[in-house]
């Protein structure tokens, strides 16, 4: 199978970009990625986006972006898998190069929340759940996460501040990420005093919705331009999995099968065990999801994922660093772009360009993108090539 390398990365600041539209956000990231790749021209564009048809009244986002970026003529499609759209788009780009059918693929994640405000945004996000059985009852993603968190805390006797470590770690790591939405560390007291969103889930258990775009150029090693100067990173493993759409159809709501299956497939492809993974970019849209992912992937046994956050194991210098550039909580949650941000950040780590957040000698990074309560999970292992 063809080796797939990441030739270029680009990202915009994550935040509330009231005055910048979908296409402009995407173009900014594409421009930087192409420049970073020494001017490589893509043949295919895979756009990860979740909410544009709903919040921006814009479908056909693949073509919108290809057209605006001056790439008319290339293949351009949108990939949608709720919050996992970015990860799913990356996998399509990966498959395109690995198959040998495409030489250079452009993967873009873009999300624009701020075309609408308030309940309209919650309503749009709720379309990721089972509309006929969940959203219709008033269920939102935050309410789903709160239900899981309550059950988890009850089953495993987690104290009220048991999840604080996820927010504390994310915010500490966001400080040095110039593209992060929140660049301020928080204290345990701040978490303890935070306003409830949906009991027991408080404001710091939930990532902020934000606008942003990130882009990756994928290619084969032999097509890299001679001017390419960056340390080389490849996609060593890729896996995806799906589960029941509705939470109530799960046999065990406190375990994410897709997280385990997709990560397992990617690791098997690389021939890697957990010990070989230097950092893990989980999908901390909600702190409870991060905890369950740590368990499903295998870093903790069932019911103990939260302890890795509480005891500092997920910190930059910890046993398994997570959310190394701030994660969804501090970098911000740009919906369908989130999975591409994870990949861009992992490349920065593996290139050794993460500055204050650098994980020493990082060689393998696992990134995992979730849609809904892990109804979709897409996992990739990125590897630094020496």
């Amino acid at each position: 199978m063809t080796e797939v390398v990441i030739a270029g990365i680009g990202q915009t600041e994550v935040g509330e970009h009231w005055e910048i539209g979908l296409r402009d956000l995407a173009y900014a990231a594409i421009h930087d990625a192409i420049e970073d790749a020494g001017g490589l021209k893509p043949q295919s564009l895979f756009v990860g986006n979740m909410l544009a048809p709903n919040l921006s009244r814009q479908a056909h986002v693949g073509v919108l972006i290809a057209d605006y970026a001056g790439l008319n003529g290339i293949e351009a499609v949108t990939i949608e898998a709720a919050g996992a759209s970015g990860g799913a788009a990356l996998r399509q780009g990966y498959l395109a190069i690995a198959s040998g059918f495409v030489d250079v693929a452009l993967v873009v994640g873009v999300e624009k929340f701020t075309d609408k405000v308030g309940a309209a945004v919650d309503e749009a996000l709720a379309t990721a759940s089972d509309s006929d059985f969940e959203a219709v009852q008033g269920m939102t993603p935050a309410a789903q996460a709160a239900l899981l968190m309550k059950r988890y805390m009850h089953e495993y006797e987690v104290p009220a501040d048991g999840f604080s470590g996820f927010a504390l770690t994310a915010h500490a790591n966001g400080v040095a990420n110039k593209n992060a939405m929140f660049r301020k560390a928080i204290k345990a007291e701040t978490y303890a005093k935070a306003e409830m969103v949906s009991d027991p889930l408080n404001m710091f258990d939930m990532a902020p919705n934000a606008d942003g775009a990130a882009a990756l150029l994928l290619t084969r090693r032999d097509l890299l331009p001679s001017s390419f100067k960056n340390p080389l990173v490849k996609i060593a493993g890729s896996g995806a999995s799906s589960d029941t759409l509705a939470l109530h159809d799960r046999k065990d709501t406190l375990y994410f099968d897709t997280a385990q299956l997709s990560a397992g497939r990617a690791m098997k492809q690389v021939g890697l065990t957990l010990d070989g993974i230097d950092f893990f970019e989980y999908h901390d849209a909600f702190s409870i999801y991060a905890a369950i992912q740590l368990e499903a992937v295998g870093f903790a046994i069932k019911g103990k994922g939260w302890k890795l956050a509480a005891d500092g194991s997920i910190g930059i210098k910890g046993k398994i660093p997570c959310a190394t550039m701030g994660g969804m909580k501090a970098r911000g949650f740009p919906g369908g772009a989130a999975g591409v941000y994870q990949a861009v950040e992992a490349v920065i780590q593996l290139r050794g360009q993460a500055e204050a957040n650098q994980i020493k000698d990082a060689k393998f990074g696992l990134i995992q993108s979730l849609g809904g309560p892990a109804s979709t999970a897409v996992s990739h292992i990125l590897q630094r090539l020496d």
């Binding site: 005055e19 405000v117 306003e195």
Partner: protein
């Protein structure tokens, strides 16, 4: 991102004849509704309120009666013949009539009729300062010797909405006249306006709607910082050149933050920051912030005033207090005296006073 200061046309609004404020007056109704009382009814929260309390008009008060109170205070300070007023303009979001002017009633009550202009102004929270800019033009062109501009509101907040905590009542009246008669000279003004739909109330609607977080960065902060920056750049001034500053104040945090962004200290905005204790008085907010500041100002003090009106725009004024201020400060009731005249009410009384209960 700041847009460049315009060069193609004169940036500053500066009349041919120098003008200033010859008289000013404030009014705040006596009733107060604590924000915690709103929270008690709607959310159960006991902390994190946007303000401490807001002023509520009594059963027999509206923008007309309140404007007359402020206008009379301004007349007392100006000591002029009311028939010399060539305009009585009232800016508000709460004119009691959709058709029939507030301003004719006010003009009649203070004896300014019939040889005068009279009209009501609407530009959300900057209707009052827009009327003030027009008054600068009328007097500065020589078309009139004096003109009165009022900003006054009895703001509406939908029951349970975030705005209900802050939607207050009050405002200020100004008489603009020749600079040589003024207690404060208005050196120049500058306005910054765009189509930004952050807050609105359509015809026949009882309560306004708002774009939530959209009302912050792209609306309030952008327009105020642009207006202030361009005014100061054209005047060649910096925050340090002003003794005091007044910014539109929809809640306590916004004016504090915008002041910091523009380089002003907490001390500079302190006398004009009334929102924590009277609420957001909408078209009256920047106007009454300035009356409170003029109440304590000394000759020579320079004041920056920047309003904000949703929809959206900001009017910025550069003002220098003259030695005439001292004698006129005590000629009428001061802003803080109105604020100290306080009767606390509960939510139920507030509901009755503001007609929020539909009886059939």
């Amino acid at each position: 991102m700041t847009t460049p200061t315009p060069q193609s046309s004169p940036t500053l609004l500066k009349p041919i004849k120098p003008v200033g404020i010859v008289g000013y007056g404030a009014y705040v109704p006596r009733f107060r509704l604590p924000a915690k009382e709103v929270a008690r009814v709607w959310t159960g929260k006991t902390s994190g309120m946007p303000i401490k309390e807001k002023a509520v008009p009594g059963l027999d008060e509206d923008v007309i009666t309140m404007s007359i109170e402020a206008a009379r205070n301004a007349m007392m300070r100006a000591q002029i013949d009311p028939t010399e007023l060539r305009a009585v303009w009232v800016g508000s979001e709460s004119h009691p009539y959709a058709v029939k002017p507030t301003s004719t009633l006010v003009a009649e009550a203070i004896g300014a009729v019939p040889n005068t202009q009279a009209a009501d102004w609407e530009f959300a929270c900057k209707a009052g300062t827009e009327a003030l800019v027009a008054a600068l033009g009328l007097v500065g062109s020589g078309m009139g010797h004096y003109a009165m501009a009022i900003g006054m509101d009895t703001a509406q907040g939908k029951p349970g909405d975030a705005l209900e905590y802050t939607a207050g009542a009050g405002g200020g009246a100004y008489i603009v006249g020749p600079a040589e008669e003024s207690l404060a000279v208005i050196n120049a003004s500058y306005s910054y306006v765009t189509d930004t739909p952050d807050f609105w109330r359509r015809e026949y609607q009882k309560y306004p709607e708002h774009g939530m977080r959209f009302t912050g960065e792209p609306a309030y902060f952008k327009h105020i910082t642009e207006a202030a920056t361009h005014l100061m750049e054209a005047m060649g001034s910096t925050a340090k050149d002003y003794k005091w500053a007044v910014f539109h104040q929809p809640n306590t945090k916004f004016p504090q933050r915008v002041a910091g962004q523009l380089g002003f200290s907490a001390e500079q905005i302190e006398p004009g920051l009334l929102v924590p204790i009277i609420g957001n008085t909408y078209a009256g907010a920047a106007m009454i912030g300035l009356t409170a500041t003029l109440d304590i100002a000394q000759p020579g003090d320079r004041i920056l005033v920047v309003s904000f009106g949703s929809g959206a725009g900001s009017d910025a004024f550069d003002i220098t207090v003259t030695d005439k201020v001292t004698a006129r400060q005590s000629l009428a009731t001061k802003t803080q005296e109105y604020i100290k005249r306080r009767t606390e009410i509960d939510y139920a009384t507030y509901v009755r006073f503001r007609g929020k209960l539909a009886m059939k």
